[in-house]
């Protein structure tokens, strides 16, 4: 099928329209932002189970005898440390340590990995991986499966009970950041216990032409679990409460992993890799800036791009902000000079040309209750 000019569509775009979703352009795709209410959808994920279409995301398969060596060279983390069925959060960095994209890497077999990237960065990630592959003459193949792959994600405390109804896969052995192949509602899936909401949940990867069937089976079985379809609006407030960075807001090519509190992703001890020298220098010297959590002490909502001040002087910028639906507080993440970062420190956020008081608080803003 050829792609007409205009936004790309996922295999579920028509279905979203049938459900009355509000569709908006996102990362070149026409995506559901909300179905009825972002607040309702947000609360559904915190209390029951929400269903997301994330088919816009990129899935790149790396396969071959040198898959481990290649990925260890390309990304900042160490995919070689993964056992089959394990996954890790990772980053693709430039030579100067700037972040090209943040990724989740799944090890599917000894020689086969999936690299899942942001839709907005898919071309850049594929280009970078291809270039490194050719330059290093690695014995691996790269297959961008994004257009053939759908991603449907049930997220929330009831997600496991819901998926368990539809699969014979033993979900107890798929712990956090683990995955297994199996049938869900009779559809072949990669069942991964990953997500971007701060709740327990799954990401189910399947062939694009089975996506509707999978969505409808989850929706039907989900009725007794309090399921609602959820859009990217709720996904954004959920991830922000959970202190998770969003590429384009907290992360970009001018930001390195240490600045956004993700130095633990960078495995300097694994040997040489792209960006190593720069990242090692940053690790030694300490990052110049730091991503912090802010809670407003006055009645104004911080938003991305708003100026952050300390003692009256501009020192940084809000990267993401909202009224937290779960906490009822006005919260933000902001990049400020590292020397100014300490829990309890006072800042001002400039909203419509007026400074409003804010206090630095610990990230994440929200942690799910665990038993």
């Amino acid at each position: 099928m050829t792609q007409a000019a205009g936004p790309r569509r996922t295999p579920l775009t028509d279905l979203h329209r049938e459900l009355g979703a509000r569709l908006m352009p996102f990362a070149g795709y026409e995506m559901p932002i909300q179905y009825a209410s972002i607040l309702e959808e947000h609360r559904t994920v915190r209390s029951a189970v929400g269903l997301f279409d994330l088919s816009h995301m990129g899935e790149i398969e790396i396969d071959g005898p040198e898959a481990v060596a290649f990925l260890r060279h390309a990304v900042a983390s160490d995919p070689g440390a993964l056992g089959v069925g394990q996954a890790q959060y990772s980053m693709l960095c430039q030579d100067d340590g700037g972040i090209i994209d943040d990724l989740i890497i799944y090890r599917l077999s000894d020689e086969r990995f999936w690299v899942v990237c942001n839709a907005s960065n898919r071309e850049a990630v594929v280009a970078q991986l291809n270039e490194l592959l050719v330059r290093g003459d690695f014995d691996v193949s790269l297959d961008d499966r994004s257009d053939r792959t759908a991603l449907v994600a049930p997220q929330g405390p009831n997600a496991a009970a819901l998926v368990a109804e539809l699969t014979d896969v033993d979900l107890d052995v798929i712990g956090n950041y683990r995955s297994a192949h199996g049938a869900v509602a009779g559809i072949d899936c990669l069942v991964a216990r990953t997500g971007y909401t701060g709740e327990d949940g799954f990401e189910l990867f399947c062939d694009a032409d089975r996506a509707r069937e999978l969505w409808e089976a989850l929706t039907a079985a989900g009725q007794s679990h309090g399921l609602r379809p959820c859009g990217l609006g709720a996904r954004d407030t959920l991830r922000l409460e959970a202190g998770m960075p969003l590429y384009g807001n907290e992360l970009d090519r001018d930001t390195n992993p240490f600045e956004v509190n993700l130095g633990r992703v960078v495995k300097l001890e694994k040997g040489d890799f792209v960006g190593r020298a720069a990242l090692e220098a940053i690790a030694l010297a300490g990052p110049a800036r730091k991503l912090i959590g802010l809670q407003m002490l006055e009645h104004a909502i911080p938003r991305a791009g708003y100026e952050v001040r300390a003692d009256g002087a501009a020192v940084g910028e809000v990267t993401s902000g909202t009224l937290s639906p779960t906490l009822g507080e006005k919260i933000a993440m902001a990049l400020v000079p590292a020397a100014l970062s300490d829990i309890g420190n006072a800042f001002d956020v400039v909203v419509r040309e007026r400074p409003y008081r804010a206090e630095q608080v610990k990230l994440p803003f929200y942690k799910r209750p665990r038993d």
Binding site: R22, I33, Q34, S37, I38, L39, H42, G233, D236, T237, H299, A300, I301, R303, T322, L323, P325, R352
Partner: protein
């Protein structure tokens, strides 16, 4: 949803109800639906002077920040303080409990430049 036919409407999706020399203003149900869940309202101050079609406040939904444009000019004599704690009234009852401000009209003839319910319905169709 049928629109109240005793109101006049602006292209910026505000409504006005004129009673004598005073007018009550708010945003339309169409605007509230477009914005989604409204979580914050910045009200004008009592005594503030509003210009027709000029900004007089801000509403914020979960995702977006939007200016409010006054459908008429005049002086603010009362604001709906309830909205500070319950901005969701703009979604649940935009033409009633979700009113925003009451204004002493500067020029009653300005209302003639606004749409009636039928014209506004056509505008938002």
């Amino acid at each position: 949803m049928a629109l109240p036919d005793d109101l006049r409407y602006s292209k910026e999706h505000e409504w006005v109800r004129v009673e004598g020399s005073r007018a009550t203003i708010g945003i339309t149900g169409f605007a509230a639906d477009e914005l989604g869940d409204i979580v914050f309202v910045e009200l004008p101050e009592v005594g503030a002077s509003l210009g027709q079609f000029a900004t007089f406040g801000v509403v914020e939904s979960v995702k977006a920040v939007s200016d409010l444009f006054s459908p008429i000019s005049g002086e603010v004599v009362e604001v709906n303080e309830t909205l500070r704690a319950s901005p969701e009234l703009l979604n649940s009852d935009p033409f009633g409990d979700g009113w925003i401000a009451k204004v002493e009209l500067a020029d009653a003839s300005e209302v003639d430049a606004l749409m009636d319910a039928d014209a506004y319905t056509a505008e938002t169709a």
